[in-house]
């Protein structure tokens, strides 16, 4: 019953999306307010039905109804409750349902809080949103229906892929989807602006908070996924330049560029055409990411098992939306009027530079990700493009970008003073030089790159703090005055400081981890001692444990430093009975922001265990940086001036609407 109800709710949502795709557009053509308002009610109703559909699937998983194929294939009655719920999106069908649920959620939010939007703009935005929704409802209903039944229901399910039975999975996909799909709003706004042929600074004020929300979630989602790979896959790596990871990095890069160009558009009414293009590209890259991950073109943990019809269907959606929106762009972009002028050296200029480097870096990732696919189609050769390619292309492009980061906020709008900005950044420059000198002396002529790169990170962090000190007139006025000024600063200024500092923090973490990571692999018997980066690791023996749906072999390691016991680490290997597969659970020991990492390999016949041990200096900064960036985003979002949906008092806008 529940499965059929869920299925039916999804069909109804499709029907509503079809109405929402057409009626408001007709209304806008006829200047009929009632028809345009249909968009609002259908968007809210659509959200209701999709939520019902999603709730139905969750219920089926929670109650372990194995008469549904999706539940049978991905669940097990003995699985812990939390993984019964997260298992809903740990498979193709369920994750696509999550995708449309989030899409409907964003549409519903615009409908609910977009009271102050001009009526025709809101109608157009929601209609475009419904086009995307329609395509994906059709995709789910025609190729990946999660509510399919089995005629003779089995007694037990096949269990979820053990690698996915982890708390990281509970958080990572919804976060990532909130990011991916959140960019659909800026896309819809861009297409709506093109259809209307009208765009102004107010448009940017509406788009920016939505982009910011999506960007925050995408940032956290990528960081979360990276940390999950780090501790769950047992290799100690946190980024593999895997196509699936690149698929999420590309929209992030484009989205970051969009975030910055929207500032220029809002404040200075310039870069309109470019901002619209970026909004289209960002969501196109999100769609591309969905295609790469969902079509089975790539094989990885994320791809699940898939059949070719799905790939072709998504490719079709991809072509229609990207091709269609770009055609519309070429046709209509000239209708958008050009805005304010600015000198190359100015805040706008710095933001253009930011956009230039971010999009170029994004393009190199794009080439590195799609070149192997293109080559395989054209010549049949199979190649892999790995970390060396990206280190040679992506990294050099990020260096000038990071050097420019502290300068941006220091420059004035319209016409900036580079010399003045440099003088105000002198403290950051000195701090960076000291960091480079100290590190270089400490490593005694080791790699030159690492101290320089860390110096760059320090420059970005201290540069962000310099900007803050400058704005609150620290050191120039008495401290209480400066403090009062700091409290009076707009939250978005604080947001910029945190986000930029986060970038520097992440860079320092990345450089430290890749340069000074120590690895030790050994075959150990009980009471063997391994030495790693000044720590002594004593293997004390193995123990067995039986959990609800797996058996676990737990190794005990006593960690000591200079003869003093520090802690006990217990890495383990889990054997999942239902699938007969095993996973490695690494043990992590935090020391400051560094970590000790132990993961287990095979046990030999004589009882010796293969053990992989790492000491990873400063590794936590890699994820702490993105968290800081996201926190900066949240601060910026809470700024009164661009709170979601409330740039103006609601009363005034209602009066405006009535006048139309």
């Amino acid at each position: 019953m529940i499965a059929e109800a869920g299925h039916y709710a999804l069909v109804l949502a499709l029907g509503l999306a079809l109405i929402q795709s057409t009626v408001p557009i007709i209304g806008a053509r006829l200047h009929d307010g009632a028809l345009m308002n249909v968009a609002r009610s259908t968007a809210l109703a659509q959200l209701l039905f999709v939520l019902a559909s999603f709730a139905a699937l969750v219920t089926l998983h929670v109650t372990s109804d194995f008469s549904v194929v999706n539940v049978y294939e991905n669940s097990h009655s003995l699985k812990p409750m939390i993984y019964k719920i997260t298992g809903v999106w740990g498979n193709h069908e369920g994750s696509m349902l999550l995708w449309v649920t989030i899409l409907a959620l964003f549409g519903g939010l615009v409908a609910a809080f977009g009271n102050n939007l001009p009526l025709s703009l809101r109608a157009h935005v929601l209609a475009v949103q419904a086009w995307v929704a329609t395509a994906f409802y059709l995709f789910i209903l025609l190729t990946s229906n999660p509510f399919m039944r089995i005629a003779n229901p089995p007694i037990e399910g096949r269990d979820l892929n053990p690698v996915l039975q982890d708390i990281g999975l509970a958080v990572h996909p919804p976060m990532l989807y909130l990011g991916y799909v959140g960019f659909s709003i800026s896309f819809s706004f861009a297409v709506a602006a093109l259809i209307e042929g009208r765009i102004d600074a107010a448009w940017a004020r509406w788009v920016r908070p939505w982009t910011l929300v999506a960007w925050i979630f995408l940032t956290l989602g990528i960081a979360m996924g990276s940390y999950w790979a780090y501790y769950e896959l047992g290799w100690g790596g946190w980024w593999f330049w895997d196509p699936v990871e690149n698929a999420s990095l590309m929209p992030w890069l484009a989205g970051t560029a969009l975030l910055h160009s929207a500032v220029v558009m809002e404040k200075r009414n310039a870069l309109k055409v470019w901002t619209v293009l970026l909004a289209i590209l960002t969501f196109s890259l999100s769609l591309l990411g969905t295609f790469l991950v969902r079509s089975g073109v790539l094989t990885s943990v994320h791809a699940f098992a898939s059949d070719p019809t799905r790939g072709i269907f998504i490719l079709l959606i991809l072509c229609i939306f990207i091709g269609g929106s770009l055609t519309l762009y070429i046709w209509r972009a000239s209708a958008l009027k050009q805005g304010g002028l600015f000198a190359p050296i100015s805040r706008e200029g710095a933001l253009v530079l930011n956009n230039l480097f971010l999009t170029t870096a994004c393009a190199t990732v794009f080439i590195g990700t799609l070149y192997p696919l293109a080559l395989e189609v054209l010549t049949g050769d199979k190649i892999s493009v790995g970390a060396p390619f990206f280190n040679l292309t992506f990294a050099p492009l990020f260096v000038p970008l990071m050097i420019a980061v502290p300068f941006g906020p220091m420059l004035a709008w319209k016409r900036g003073d580079l010399l003045g900005a440099s003088q105000r950044l002198i403290a950051a420059g000195i701090a960076a030089l000291i960091a480079v000198a100290v590190l270089w002396a400490w490593t005694r002529g080791g790699s030159v790159f690492a101290p320089l790169a860390i110096g760059l990170g320090v420059f970005v962090i201290v540069g962000a703090l310099c900007d803050l000190a400058e704005r609150m007139s620290l050191f120039r006025m008495p401290f209480p005055v400066a403090l009062r000024r700091a409290r009076g600063l707009p939250r978005s200024t604080w947001g910029t400081v945190f986000a930029h500092a986060g970038l520097g923090v992440a860079l320092i973490g990345i450089v430290c981890e890749t340069t000074w990571n120590t690895e030790h692999i050994a075959s150990m018997k009980p009471n063997d001692v391994a030495q790693l980066a000044g720590y002594g690791l004593t293997f004390e023996g193995m123990a067995q444990r039986q959990a609800s749906n797996y058996r676990e072999q737990i190794a005990r390691f006593a960690v000591s430093r200079d003869g003093q016991p520090v802690a006990v680490m217990t890495p383990s290997k889990r054997n999942f009975t239902a699938r007969g597969s095993s996973t490695t659970e690494a043990a992590l020991l935090r020391r400051g922001v560094s970590q000790l990492y132990i993961s287990l390999g095979d046990t030999a016949a004589d009882g010796a265990v293969a053990v992989r041990m790492y000491y990873k200096p400063m590794v936590l900064l890699i994820w702490f940086g993105p968290v800081l960036m996201a926190f900066g985003g949240v601060l910026s979002l809470s700024d009164r001036r661009l709170r979601v949906g409330a740039p103006k008092p609601a009363k005034a806008s209602r009066a405006l609407q009535a006048a139309e």
Binding site: A151, F304, D307, L356, K382, I383, L392, R612
Partner: protein, 157 residues
Amino acid sequence: MTRKQRRLTMIGGSLAVLAIAAALVLNALRDSIVFFSTPVMVAEKHIPPGRRFRLGGMVLKGSLVRGDNLAVSFKVSDGSATLPVAYKGILPDLFREGQGVVAEGALDGSGVFKADLVLAKHDETYMPKEVADALKKQGHWKDDYGELASHKQGVPR
């Protein structure tokens, strides 16, 4: 500066960055890509020792030998040729005899493939996509490799 000059500065700057990026990409594509081969392709193409490539195929049943100090050796087969592989380290969780594998490394002088990376890139059917495609192309694809997959699709409705 006039409007025209400003625009020219912008366009010139953008083109310069794009040109640098293009140069970086072309340079990197020349040096840092890795080709994929199966054992029979290795024999046909005469890949010289020392050239890095990815080897894919099935781990031959009964060929896995564990040596001292985490050294392992096994044979990779694609149905018509086999190639011995030597590796030192911990094999991934999903490594099994009789199942697909992808290893990255280079041939040494004696014709042994020295792997420094063994990948566990599998889908749910424990078959790397590259290997499945290559085996299908060479006509060595056996249905039981895809047994799990067909079982999945053959679920009674």
